[in-house]
Symmetry: C2
Subunit: 275 residues, 2 copies
């Protein structure tokens, strides 16, 4: 459907996000990537923060083209960020895949363990599962209208590098940007995912009918505050962090340990031998 | 709230799932684990297949205790599988954490790349992020009332081993069970996550008002059909697969490659040097 419209040799860039098509971060991302090629936006109709890699299977999806005042192709989907990527690949890029998938700019951090809750990063991961170089961008600012200048300026360097050099099959980038004016950003650092968890503190309230309910809040627990090679570390130092991401969740060290359990000796003749 | 009710030394086991509290798989999982200790079920009110690691932040959560005819403590939550684990930890296990978190038994496979879309495995991962040994169980049968005999029999062996030997911090198990009668299951194999992707084939339809809509369908594309050490391989051979799972998504090989991009030389004085 979109094939052949782009200029020869000009990259086609799929843009999506998880804060919905009206988010300022989406517009900032379009601004970031439009110098590089033809931009196609396929974004959720509503915000989907915390939607992780969710897909929509109970409700039929709808793809709606929207008009803009410029030459950006713009669609919305009544689904999640992953739905947007899947539907775009299936219905819009039927002959020629995009050359790059970018997601964001998320309003809020997706560093460390936040990656597994992140719809922004899920869309980037979905892109790389199609074999397309993909990048998720997140600014560590939850404001509705933050300053995206540093994200755009430094983001372009990262996009240029990815377009020039590619990413390995099955890999994408998790880029987080500190809340700093352009001139105060110290630079870019390649890093690994920091170990940590979110610890939940639900706020318990009672509704007018006397029934309890809970709002999710929480704080980040850094499990390796001494590390100097992680995304958390570099962000705290004023740098943009770039974590290369892949989707094999196997723990190879635990795999070796499990072999000593001798589970392969369990058979139907003694399925409960260990009880 | 639940502390002190269990017998001394008897494990407390948190059970959840993503198919909702009425699913047959949840009841089969309770059946599997109840010989091992005191069971507390905290399950979603509705099915959440494909919800991945989604969390609920826009809607307040409610925790509802439900009566049963046995001594199983039973709650439901108007949220996702991950919400169930978080809310249970925060509101029910305030002094003593459970000794084990089990999730499932999912109606359908969560092998290979399906793990990243899986609410069942997200709950297990959430459990291990709290430092609790956690296991997700999935039966490769989408029927509403499948035969869970093999899952229960062999699942107990795995549960017993985990209770006896523990799992390393930040690790959980992804257990998939082939659709076979107990006597035909060949055994249990520890495996790594198979490389693969889902390729989407949306079914396009038109509603009575003439508007197009799409139902997500799709097929699994095995990217390493020759491998003999993966979950896909062993499941196809009639074995139960056990994949140890961790949550560091960093690609360490790509990290080394990215270092050659010299992104650390990018500064504000030349943020667009590569363009």
């Amino acid at each position: 459907m979109l094939e052949g419209k782009g200029e020869v040799g000009k990259p086609v860039i799929l843009v999506t996000n998880d804060d919905g098509y009206k988010a300022a971060g989406l517009e900032a991302l379009v601004e970031m990537v439009k110098p590089f090629g033809r931009v196609v936006v396929v974004a959720p109709e509503e915000g989907h923060s915390g939607m992780s890699h969710a897909i929509t299977i109970k409700v039929p999806l709808r793809l709606k083209q929207r008009k803009r005042g410029d030459d950006i192709t713009f669609y919305t989907v009544n689904g999640t960020p992953v739905d947007c990527v899947k539907l775009a690949m299936s219905q819009l890029f039927t002959n020629r895949m995009p050359d790059l998938v970018v997601s964001g700019i998320n309003h809020g951090s997706n560093s460390s363990i936040s990656i597994i809750y992140s719809g922004t990063m899920a869309a980037a991961i979905e892109g790389c599962l199609y074999g397309i170089p993909s990048i998720g961008f997140s600014l560590l600012d939850y404001d509705e209208s933050p300053d995206f200048s540093a994200s755009i300026r430094f983001g372009r360097v990262i996009v240029q590098n990815v377009l020039d050099k590619g990413l390995s099959k099955g890999c994408c980038l998790n880029v987080n940007i500190p809340v700093l004016p352009v001139k105060s950003v110290k630079g870019i650092r390649v890093a690994r995912q920091n170990r940590g968890t979110w610890r939940e503190e639900f706020e318990k309230r009672t509704d007018p009918r006397g029934v309890d309910y809970y709002w999710l809040t929480g704080y980040f627990l850094n499990e390796e505050p001494e590390a100097t090679d992680t995304d958390e570390y570099w962000l705290n130092q004023g740098y943009i962090s770039v974590v290369p991401v892949q989707v094999d969740l196997t723990s190879y060290t635990e795999l070796e340990r499990l072999k000593s359990w001798n589970l392969e000796h369990v058979t139907i003749s003694n399925p409960e031998k260990t009880q």
